[in-house]
């Protein structure tokens, strides 16, 4: 039995409506409890800001695509090197660090849980292997279903139950957590050198539209009672005028889950563009935010862009090809048979560039214009908009109009005339930030019940203590102090153990992988579906029996069993 007492913590815990109170927190064997004995280890938080551990609900940190980002950019690998030190392994990489680099830097910022945003099911083993070397965060993976042939056939046949049964088999087989649709149908079209411009285009050879895929999958998701909703990367990413496509997509979404959203739309900054070309490119964040404000069934994340070097990586192969044609740097393109694809290119977001400056403004506008912070999550689509180490700067921008004005003065001079940002006065408070960095993620991913994102009795003791004194810091003026305070915790506690202290990670750690196993009735079980099996063996280069990820790929893991309505 190990016990820990955290004294004098200034706690903000939005899921429990705690808005900042001095409290003691008691921990036994990795969970929050009501009291501890006299021999408990004591940490005096001295009134410092204390919150549940941070959760990133959309980040690219583990898997084949991420790893390709590493080896196609040796210059990025050289950019973030740290030496072996104490319990810490050597690390390298800036925008795509090694797994230990990712884990240590997230831990230093108080993050304890990560959702890998895009795992190709066929390549799931690689993701799980890297999860095992991301030891200071618990992990889970979105599974890509955007171009899955069997799913698209079920969608074409308007057989939602069959689509759900197929998802159930894949999720269990690859130890995945949730349904991800990346440019649904578009990457399959890219296999034929084409793309889809929006939700009414037809996927070649399948006679379905993205709208069909999205609506069917939203229903299938709820049939399976998955903790998370469908996680969508809309069609037509990064194109001037694409905001209309995004609005049309949002119009498709029914409100069918009482606990959480019915659709999680990711990196919406990249989908909120006005104009007809790069010449008259502008922000349409206000329309997008208004749509979200009218639809409690939608949660978005910002997909904030920050200036500097990074790497873009996505399953959206055709979009990466378009980026490649803009940048003329190196490019990777990859097909995952029968399922999806991917593309990767390095980018540099420049303040001097008008388009980049507008992109930077749009992400902030979305966060500031969406009224309920539970509906707009802080994320950069790491590393696509910026490496996650930029989160503290984003927090400071959201909390301080003065900081935004200071930054606006350094970007392309025409930016102000193309975006609403200069007119927005909202300054988010500490409570809003606590929601946007942990509580909203826990609710959106449906993992509050797993003890994530809050500090109730029985919750996982994942706790971040920041060297910030809320009463003594004025975020709207002291934005440098905000950046500094959120960049490095005083203590990061994972499962009741101090894992990181002032940037020094103290233990080797073991991650826990969360995955979902929907229980489907015998007659709906896809293993009894001869057509599915026949097509699997006919089209895949892998035998169906060899496809599932063996248990040995997961170390510590939690299987979430759901009772599917099938």
């Amino acid at each position: 039995m190990s016990e820990l007492l955290i004294k004098n913590a200034f706690v903000i815990d939005p899921l429990n409506h705690i808005r900042g109170e001095i409290m003691d927190i008691f921990v036994r064997d990795g969970r929050i409890v009501e009291s501890v004995g006299p021999n408990a280890e004591v940490i005096d938080a001295g009134g410092m800001l204390t919150m549940p551990g941070g959760i990133d609900s959309h980040t690219h940190v583990c898997g084949t695509k991420v790893n390709f980002g590493r080896y196609m950019s040796p210059e990025d690998m050289r950019a973030g090197r740290t030496k072996r030190h104490g319990a810490m392994h050597a690390t390298s990489g800036y925008s795509v660090p090694t797994t230990y680099g990712t884990s240590y830097r997230y831990s230093t910022m108080g993050y304890t849980t990560l959702l890998e945003g895009a795992m190709a099911p066929l390549e799931a083993r690689h993701t799980h292997e890297e999860f095992n070397y991301t030891p200071l965060q618990d992990t889970m993976a979105n599974v890509l279903f955007d171009g899955n042939w069997a799913i698209m056939e079920a969608v074409r046949d308007q057989d939602t139950a069959r689509a759900a049964a197929i998802v159930a088999w894949f999720l269990e087989a690859v130890k995945g957590f949730s349904i991800k649709l990346t440019n649904p149908g578009g990457t399959e079209a890219w296999g034929w050198g084409k793309n889809l411009t929006c939700i009414r285009d037809i996927v070649p050879n399948f006679e379905v539209t993205p709208a069909d895929i999205i609506t069917t999958m939203i229903k299938a998701n709820e049939m399976l009672r998955l903790p998370h909703s469908v996680h969508l990367h809309c069609n037509n990413l990064g194109t001037p005028g694409n905001y209309q496509c995004t609005l049309d997509t949002f119009d498709l979404v029914p409100d069918i889950n009482r606990e959480r959203q019915s659709l999680y739309a990711t990196h919406v900054q990249f989908h909120a563009y006005g104009g007809t070309s790069w010449k008259d490119f502008c922000s349409r964040s206000d329309e997008i935010a208004a749509s979200v404000n009218n639809r409690p069934q939608i949660t978005i994340d910002m997909g904030q862009v920050m200036f500097g070097k990074t790497t873009t990586m996505t399953a959206d192969g055709p979009m990466e090809f378009n980026l490649y044609r803009l940048h003329h740097n190196k490019w990777s393109n990859h097909d995952v048979e029968l399922e999806t694809g991917s593309g990767i290119i390095p980018v540099y977001y420049s303040r001097k560039n008008l388009v980049n400056s507008i992109m930077w403004a749009i992400g902030l506008e979305l966060a500031l214009l969406v009224r309920d912070p539970y509906q707009c999550i802080l994320a950069t689509d790491n590393p696509n908009g910026a490496p996650f180490v930029k989160y503290p700067e984003i927090i400071a921008l959201l909390m301080s109009k003065a900081y935004r004005e200071a930054e606006l003065a350094t970007v392309h001079p025409d930016t102000g005339s193309r975006v609403p940002l200069p007119a927005i006065d909202r300054e988010m408070d500490w409570y809003d930030i606590a929601i946007m960095t942990r509580a909203a993620q826990a609710r959106a991913l449906g993992i509050a019940g797993q003890g994530k994102g809050h500090l109730s009795e029985g919750a996982e003791a994942d706790i971040a203590i920041y060297p910030l004194r809320v009463g003594e810091t004025d975020p709207s003026r002291e934005y440098d102090a905000i950046i500094k305070g959120f960049s490095q915790t005083e203590y990061t506690i994972k499962r009741g153990r101090v894992v990181c202290r002032r940037g020094e990670c103290l233990v080797e750690g073991v991650n826990t992988t969360y995955w979902v196993r929907p229980k489907v009735s015998e007659e709906r079980n896809i293993l009894n579906d001869e057509e599915f099996k026949r097509n699997f063996d006919r089209y895949y280069t892998v035998r169906m029996s060899n496809y599932p990820v063996q248990d040995s790929y997961l170390q510590r893991n939690v299987c979430i069993d759901t009772e599917a309505q099938l």
Binding site: M72, S73, P74, E75, D76, M77, R78, N329
Partner: protein
């Protein structure tokens, strides 16, 4: 003036490389500094590898001359980030000599291994023997090679000489290997001997080859004849495959069969 002589001691395994980025004129200004080198994952004091003798005193890096004596052919990264002064290498030198160098002079009496003066910013490197591959280039994944200063090689240079060249000048008195000047975007490359497949993907800068270019890239356009120091050269522009605006001056060339 300060004169530092580093005589490489006899080593049991002379083939094992030593990383010696600490060998810089400015490093000797602080007499107290405990200088070290790395052999694999072991950090060693200077005295284990070199017999060190120091004469005189110096106020700035420019007043320091370092002489490296003995078998230094496997000693790497000498003069990395050098910002003044002089290094004389009496024999051969290992890889990455003069990485990122900004000012001062390095003179190599023997030959240099690969990556001589990579991503160098200023100063000059003189190599009396041959230079290895990637002389004056950018390291893996880097978009810019050498950006300023000069490298002069009296012998031959290896493959990918001046890759990603972005400024400064490189003069090779002998022959260059394959793909000299590949991806160069600025600066000047002069090859007095022969070369092969020069300047593919070039976007800017100039390259002059006094000898014969084998397997000349077909993606350069002839734009005229010019006289350089009394000799007639053909001028080319390209690489048009890359919308490049580089210039080649070439005396003789052959296209690939």
């Amino acid at each position: 003036m300060m004169r530092v002589v580093l005589a490489v001691k006899e080593r049991k395994k002379p083939f094992l490389p030593i990383e010696a980025e600490a060998i810089l004129p400015s490093a000797f200004l602080d007499q107290e500094a405990k200088l070290t080198v790395w052999k694999g994952n072991k950090e060693l004091p200077f005295a284990e590898v070199f017999a060190v003798s120091i004469d005189g005193e110096a106020e700035s890096a420019d007043d320091v001359e370092i002489v490296i004596r003995g078998d230094s052919s496997r000693i790497k990264r000498i003069g990395e980030y050098m910002d003044g002064g002089r290094i004389v290498i009496e024999g051969d030198i290992g890889m990455h000599c003069g990485n990122f160098m900004e000012a001062g002079t390095i003179e190599i009496m023997g030959s240099a291994d690969a990556w001589l003066g990579r991503e160098m910013r200023g100063g000059s490197i003189i190599c009396r023997g041959n230079a290895g591959d990637y002389c004056g280039s950018g390291y893996r994944g880097e978009k810019k090679g050498m950006r300023g200063g000069s490298i002069e090689v009296f012998g031959n240079a290896g493959d990918f000489t001046a890759e990603m060249l972005a400024g400064g000048s490189i003069v090779i008195h002998g022959n260059a290997g394959d793909m000299a000047g590949v991806d160069m975007h600025d600066g000047a490359l002069v090859i007095h001997g022969d070369a092969r497949m020069v300047c593919a993907n070039m976007t800017g800068g100039t390259c002059t080859v006094h000898g014969t270019v084998a397997d000349m890239m077909p993606t350069f356009v002839r734009t005229g004849q010019v006289l350089i120091e009394g000799t007639e050269f053909t001028r080319f522009s390209g690489d048009i495959a890359n919308r490049g605006k580089g210039t080649l001056f070439i005396r003789r060339w052959q296209y690939m069969d």
